[in-house]
């Protein structure tokens, strides 16, 4: 078993077959992405991760195929814990993009179905950027190419609009960890590799200092959580929001809503502040628990559902995620998705975390120590030193 990727990546399908209950084989699908508040929406009309995945699954469940799917939504943070506490027909694997296929392959065998590649983007409020003079002649935003330029742009936005330059969830969800990782990678370093932690390197210090300088200048507020940072962006209180590809269609829909302050929305590639291009990325993938594969009927039903989800990869990519299927990536329909042409480079600069067994715990350590820096004023060297010891313990 490849223990590394499945722990890193997002997945799962927990199945309980109960064929005696009805004609249909009932399988239970466990997923995160949140609950969809609207029922009965078609795949084509669904907006946002929860509703698009729900529409895809419902379409399969309602079709006359002898399979009924019960969905068990749970929240993102507890999802992996639940998988660990409870305990991979019809798919053309050659259509998968090489990186996605590699993400589900171990020792030459495929153990899951990739659904997307997702990465951090800079979500931009063009109205604020325009006011600060940060728009190119071709209408694209002017983004910084160095930490110094980052601060200069932040000052320009503050002077012209009074708004924050950048918002992100630095308080709870590990966006801060992913940001620091990205800035470390952009300097050609790693936070850990080959079983050795290097969290207190000069590159890491520089990455953290770059972010802290935004807080010190009051260009960003580290105390906002996911919902609050997103709300401040939608309310026009921040020019940039650092968040993933999963919200592009949602922000696009919000910008079209006259009741929302954000009106001119742009989804930009993560800018390169140092020498190398990089942005944090990962895959969502589906897997079937090993005990389900012993029940042939349930296993076939599950594979049928996964094949259907794979077929609907374009619909899923509408969220903003990058498709994993070459046929979709090359299609006109994919290229025509809103904002898709604005972040084409993301696929090339996307970078995954080095595979490690205890990534969850390592991410917790980094999140805790980074928050200690910007929320409780712990000195950078001390926090990174403590994180280095703790990460090394987890690697040993």
């Amino acid at each position: 078993m490849r223990r590394i990727r499945p722990v890193l990546a997002l997945l799962v399908l927990a199945l309980f077959a109960s064929p005696a209950f009805a004609q249909d084989t009932t399988i239970t699908l466990g997923r995160f992405f949140g609950a969809c508040d609207v029922s009965g929406v078609s795949i084509a009309n669904a907006v946002g991760e929860p509703c698009i995945i729900q529409a895809i699954v419902d379409a399969y469940s309602e079709a006359d195929n002898g399979v009924t799917v019960d969905t068990l939504p749970t929240d993102w943070g507890n999802y992996y814990d639940q998988i660990k506490a409870s305990y991979a027909g019809g798919i053309d694997v050659d259509d998968w993009a090489p990186a996605a296929r590699e993400a589900v392959t171990f020792d030459g065998r495929i153990y899951g179905v990739p659904m997307d590649a997702h990465a951090n983007l800079w979500h931009v409020n063009m109205e604020l950027m325009e006011a600060a003079g940060l728009v190119n002649a071709d209408g694209t935003p002017i983004l910084p190419s160095s930490p110094e330029e980052l601060l200069a742009h932040a000052q320009q936005v503050k002077d012209a609009t009074g708004a924050d330059y950048l918002a992100a969830d630095f308080a709870q969800f590990p966006i801060g960890v992913r940001l620091v990782m990205t800035l470390v990678w952009q300097q050609g370093a790693e936070l850990f590799a080959d079983g050795v932690a290097d969290v207190d390197s000069a590159e890491a210090v520089r990455a953290v200092e770059t972010i802290v300088s935004l807080f010190d200048g009051r260009y960003a507020d580290p105390r906002l959580d996911y919902a609050d940072s997103q709300q401040s962006f939608l309310d026009g209180e921040a020019a940039i929001l650092v968040n993933g590809t999963w919200v592009v269609d949602f922000y696009d829909a919000q910008a079209a809503d006259p009741a929302v302050a954000l009106t001119d929305y742009y989804a930009a590639d993560f800018p390169t502040l140092f020498a190398e291009d990089a942005t944090w990325a990962n895959n969502h993938l589906w897997a079937v628990p090993v005990n389900t594969s012993r029940d042939a009927e349930a296993y076939q039903a599950a594979l049928g559902l996964l094949a259907h989800i794979n077929d609907q990869n374009l619909a899923w990519a509408r969220t903003g995620h990058l498709s994993v299927r070459t046929s979709v990536l090359e299609s006109d329909a994919y290229a025509a998705l809103p904002h898709r042409d604005e972040y084409v480079r993301t696929a090339a600069i996307a970078r995954d975390v080095v595979p490690v067994v205890r990534y969850d715990a390592i991410q917790d350590v980094l999140n805790r120590e980074l928050q200690a820096i910007w929320l409780t004023g712990k000195p950078i060297s001390e926090a990174l030193g403590d994180a280095d010891l703790a990460v090394q313990d987890l690697l040993d």
Binding site: G77, Y80, P222, R223, A227, D228, Q231
Partner: protein, 369 residues
Amino acid sequence: MTSSAPTRSRAARRVRDAVAGYLFVGPFLLAYVAFLLWPFARGVWISLHDWNLLAVAINPDAKTFVGLDNYVRMLWGDGLVWSLDHQWGVRLLGLALVAGALWAWRRGAIGRGTALAAAAAGLLVFGFALGLHPGEGGRWGDRRFWPIVGNTLTFVALTVPAVAAMGLALAIGLNRDDRRSAVLRTFFFLSQVLSVTVVTLIWQLTLSPRQGLIAHAFRSLGLEPLAWVTSPDLAMPAIVIATVWWSLGFAMILFLAGLQEIPAERNEAARLDGAGPLQLLRHLTLPALSRTTTLVVVLQIILHFQVFGQSHLITRGGPNDATQVWVRYIYQTGFRNSELGDASALAIVLFAFMLVFALLQMRASRGEA
């Protein structure tokens, strides 16, 4: 022998009583063994192993017996030294409490056994244990464990007295036989029936620095809203406030039951003798409620040592572990990091802590009575 017949029948009755007795406690005993003793014993067994949740689930032989290693790493460290002035503030306070216990014994307020037990425990904890810390180049085996124990104790120390005092005040205020009191009693008890998820949702909405009720109130007064959940100083008070609001109803009901057992004639007699409301409270109500108070305090201590939902859902243990509590640490160690051996050891030590507190409290209350 004339006594043999009665003796035989007495013996037969004793057997019959025993059988009936076992039949009565049997079903409970069965459930108790199956759902409490057996899992507990298994927890102890797991805590003696290096036991990865996923690895052992797939291959039952993937565990190693390590004896007490998990406990040693949790409780101890390398290169620990003892200093007189380490954490002196808390330690002086603790030693003052020890002196208080001895003084109370001299005055006859508490029994000798209680006083000596409290003094010995206090000297061990405050005089010795809190003076330990890693010396130059030393480190705790688990650097997060003791701070998390401290957080949990802080949470209990802030929550339990507040719940007891406010529950008592509400009970005294609402111990009347009119419609208004009945309605208010229901209102105050309502929060108790909510699940922890609902309680935390309500308080997340109340505390949010952008959309929260408290933030709106602050803004309307022209003040900068407080970022409760992300502030290292306000995060713990935030979950304490949510918990007090949640637990108040139950304490109030227990105190009301206690108050209604005090005969009305006794209050009347005291009042006729010229006792004012404060004297009545101090010399009549509080002594009569001593058993109820003990019950409330013991139940609340045991309950709040196991705090999880409030920390997990409101603050996620943050910022920087400021609200990380014992049970959430067990949960994360076991289910997030898959270290079931360490998690079980943590759980066993938590059990021992709670047992000590409950015994001390029960002993102290017996001394009073």
